[in-house]
Symmetry: C2
Subunit: 107 residues, 2 copies
Amino acid sequence: MLVLAEHDHGDGTPTHDHPHTHRRRPQVIARLARIEGHIRSIRQMVESDRDCSEVLIQIAAVRSAIQNAGKVILEDHFESCIVSAAARGDHDEAIEEFKEAFSKLVY
Amino acid sequence: MLVLAEHDHGDGTPTHDHPHTHRRRPQVIARLARIEGHIRSIRQMVESDRDCSEVLIQIAAVRSAIQNAGKVILEDHFESCIVSAAARGDHDEAIEEFKEAFSKLVY
């Protein structure tokens, strides 16, 4: 019951046919919360007409922070979905999942 | 007085020695507000354990949105700070500002 509740779309439909855990989820949530605050502070910088160059530095910083959050999500994804597919012997599925997830983050 | 108020750091110190306007500021503020909401919704996706691949798609989307907001800020910067420096005949300063701003956003 707990496992199902952790792995549904909120409407009861499962998101995976192979339930798994994401060790880094609290870290990802904390990173995203910080990024949200960072974006808000950049908006406030623009509203108070701070130097373009200062704003651009913060834009680059928050973009890196998002990329890093994506990497952590990808690490979790590798360790859970993909490794568990491999452990079940679904090597083709594991490789496809790896390629698909990787292509989403790196282009 | 209005010009000073628009171009200080909030503590009275000017941000530029060449006051200027940013035509696209309302657009930049609107974009950043949307990005903030987007990040919040991604956090909620992670909290409700949505598929990693769906989360990664949104991470890539919000990263593009940030990059595009940066481009709009850069366009404003070119049209105001840099072009006004060039108009004053400070071509070296204009080129340096261009290179510096560009290097912040593109790496």
